[in-house]
């Protein structure tokens, strides 16, 4: 089980992240404390450069914080200055998280089906057999399984990327501006897909977006400004 008794999945306390560029220091995150419960759909909004990506990367164990603590399902991941290596982070990530991004990063020479199956070549959670077809069917992509990425639309590519992120049945889906490259209509469709995954499958979703319509889909909205998180 990835939840604690009170249902808290991710707990961040005073997370900071300082980037160093030469002698210049950039305080991208300035002490963020928040909790995300299992099954929540949380949206982050805020101006460009406000630290949304930095925060989501820390929550998703893609990066080590400069200070602060992060618990994942009650287990301490970051804290007390301990730095996790690439291998340990990978182990956590492949158990818990799925990721989608503004760019879809599909491999152009692999078919839709092969792209979705790609994570299984590296890590195979028990019991995910048949998941590729099931997800593609659920996302309305069954007629496109043997197409190459170059033969489908942007909205369809993001659906493929979503299926790929979910093929190992993650607890939490992290989405950093998933509709940033899509028009309004396609964005709406992707939003519906995410909402459906959250409602019916109980998937925890942490999403960064500039699209207010999309942000409203989540039950919870967090505003980012100058590396800090505000919630009303």
């Amino acid at each position: 089980m990835m939840t604690t008794e009170n249902g808290v999945s991710l707990a961040a306390r005073g997370l900071t992240r300082v980037y160093r560029r030469g002698i210049e220091e950039i305080q991208a995150l300035d002490g963020v404390t928040l909790q995300i419960r299992r099954g929540e759909f949380v949206a982050f909004m805020g101006p460009s450069g406000s630290g949304k990506t930095t925060l989501v990367n820390l929550l998703g164990c893609l990066d080590n914080p400069s200070s602060g603590e992060l618990d994942l399902a009650g287990r301490s991941i970051f804290g007390n200055g301990k730095i996790l290596g690439e291998r340990e982070l990978t182990r956590i990530r492949r158990e818990v998280f799925g990721y989608i991004f503004q760019n879809f990063y599909l491999i152009p020479t692999l078919t839709v089906r092969e792209n979705v199956a790609l994570p299984l070549a590296f890590y195979h959670k028990p019991g995910v057999e048949g998941e590729v077809e099931r997800l593609l069917g659920m996302l309305g992509m069954e007629h496109r399984m043997d197409h190459l990425p170059g033969q489908i639309s942007g909205g369809e590519m993001q659906r493929v990327a979503i299926a790929r992120a979910l093929v190992n049945r993650p607890e939490i889906l992290l989405a950093d501006e998933p509709t940033g490259n899509l028009d309004t209509k396609r964005s709406g469709e992707i939003g519906e897909v995410l909402q459906e995954l959250n409602k019916s499958a109980g998937l925890t979703i942490v999403m960064v977006t500039h699209n207010p319509g999309l942000a409203k889909l989540g039950g919870r909205l967090i505003e980012m400004r100058d590396g800090q998180a505000y919630e009303n």
């Binding site: 990506t53 990367n57 893609l62 990066d63 690439e86 291998r87 990978t90 990530r93 492949r94 998280f97 990721y99 991004f101 503004q102 760019n103 990063y105 491999i107 152009p108 020479t109 692999l110 089906r113 092969e114 199956a117 790609l118 994570p119 299984l120 070549a121 590296f122 890590y123 590729v132 790929r164 190992n168 950093d176």
Partner: protein, 393 residues
């Protein structure tokens, strides 16, 4: 559902032209490498074969006698010295000796030969013992003499061509004005025998009014100690012994320089191909940093990425290697002709000898060197952090 091998393979298909060019580079260097290694082996065995074709491994002749027929001919026979024919009997019974044949070399001045005359080389040989020394002689026409005193001649391929003789034609021994009948004409052997006219030993002795011989050819028994026999032959009075093993070693020394050159070229070709491999794989890694990062968010370990990229190198090198070695087999004759042009002494037969063992060895060398050159790009790919996939925009 999709294996890592397929992922690696399909990655190579993304930039088809680049992959193809790299493959061609590896293929050419594999071709050069296997051909040159094949030459290195083939040359020595061709030389051995050539020396075996002398028929005998040792020659005994009078001390101070120029042993090369060419020298003998240039000097017009004046430098010739003789040994007693009875010496044959003292040699034939030694334990190391397989066969023995006496030879009388004579050179006559022929005023009709070429511009202002030339030297004609005659070999007096025994019909009973000489043919057994040269079992590889093939007759274009006719055959050996009918008896040891017949007024007959067997002509080497070039000698017959030069004098335009057929079997049955007469031939006049210059200086002596003795007429012989041509009974056999040999096929080309690629050796000095081609320019020689063979006459029965007794006949030539009679014509030249000499009852001695110039040379004794000795065929040593298989696995016998040639060096020991050589030493014991030097006990005979006033003789010198010529060993073809020594001749061979001299030639091999001459060719050694050529072989070192050849190997250097092979190594350079290999290095160039490998620089191509490093370049191709490194470029494809740098182009894919974001994708590699995404693979890592999917749960690929650094070692998974390392082996993925390494597999790409392996595929490139083994495909290019196999193709190049295949080419080398197909064009082995062509390499032969090229190699022959640059050599100081080229024996007959196959110079570039490529067999399965050599092909596999070359392939192994290419794959190993390829994997070594793949280490850096693969290591670099393994170190890509997933963040770069999101930040790279």
């Amino acid at each position: 559902m999709i294996s890592r091998f397929q992922i690696a393979y399909k990655n190579l298909l993304r930039k088809k032209a680049r992959t193809l060019l790299t493959l061609v580079g590896i293929m050419l260097s594999a071709w050069v490498l296997v051909s040159l290694l094949g030459f290195n082996r083939g040359y020595e065995s061709a030389l051995n074969r050539d020396i075996d074709n002398m028929g005998y491994q040792l020659m005994v002749m009078a001390k101070g006698c120029p042993y090369e027929a060419a020298t003998m001919m240039l000097q017009g026979g004046t430098g010739l010295r003789y040994i007693e024919q009875s010496m044959v009997d003292s040699i034939v019974n030694r334990p190391e000796v397989d066969k023995v044949t006496p030879i009388l070399m004579q050179a006559f001045f022929d005023p009709d030969k070429g511009d202002g005359g030339g030297i004609a080389g005659y070999f007096g040989v025994e019909a009973a013992t000489f043919p057994a020394m040269k079992p590889f002689f093939r007759f274009r026409q006719g055959g050996w003499f009918h008896d040891e005193q017949a007024l007959e001649a067997v002509m080497g391929f070039e000698a017959a061509e030069l004098e335009q003789r057929e079997v049955g034609d007469p031939i006049l021994v210059p200086e002596k004005n003795v007429q012989l009948k041509v009974v056999g004409i040999l096929e080309r052997t690629g050796t000095q025998d081609d320019g020689t006219i063979f006459v029965p030993l007794k006949t030539l002795q009679k014509i030249s009014a000499i009852d001695k011989i110039t040379t004794i050819g000795i065929k040593v028994k298989k696995d016998a100690d040639t060096t020991k026999l050589e030493t014991s032959l030097y006990q005979l009075p006033d003789v010198q012994v010529v060993s073809f093993t020594q001749v061979k070693q001299t030639i091999m020394k001459l060719v050694a320089t050529a072989r070192v050159m050849v190997l250097s070229i092979a190594i350079i070709a290999l290095l160039i191909a490998m620089v191509g491999v490093v370049n191709t794989i490194l470029m494809s890694v740098l182009e894919r940093l974001q994708e590699i990062g995404i693979l890592k968010t999917m749960g690929a370990m650094p070692s998974d990425i390392f082996f993925l990229v390494w597999t790409e190198t392996l595929i490139l090198c083994s495909c290019g290697g196999v193709a190049g070695i295949g080419l080398a087999f197909v064009f082995a004759r062509l390499s032969d002709i090229l190699v022959r042009r640059v050599l100081p002494y080229a024996p007959g037969g196959e110079l570039v000898a490529i067999d399965l063992k050599l092909a596999l060895l070359t392939l192994a060398v290419i794959v190993v060197v390829g994997l070594l050159s793949g280490i850096y790009p693969a290591w670099k790919a393994g170190r890509v952090r997933p963040l770069e996939s999101i930040r790279g925009e």
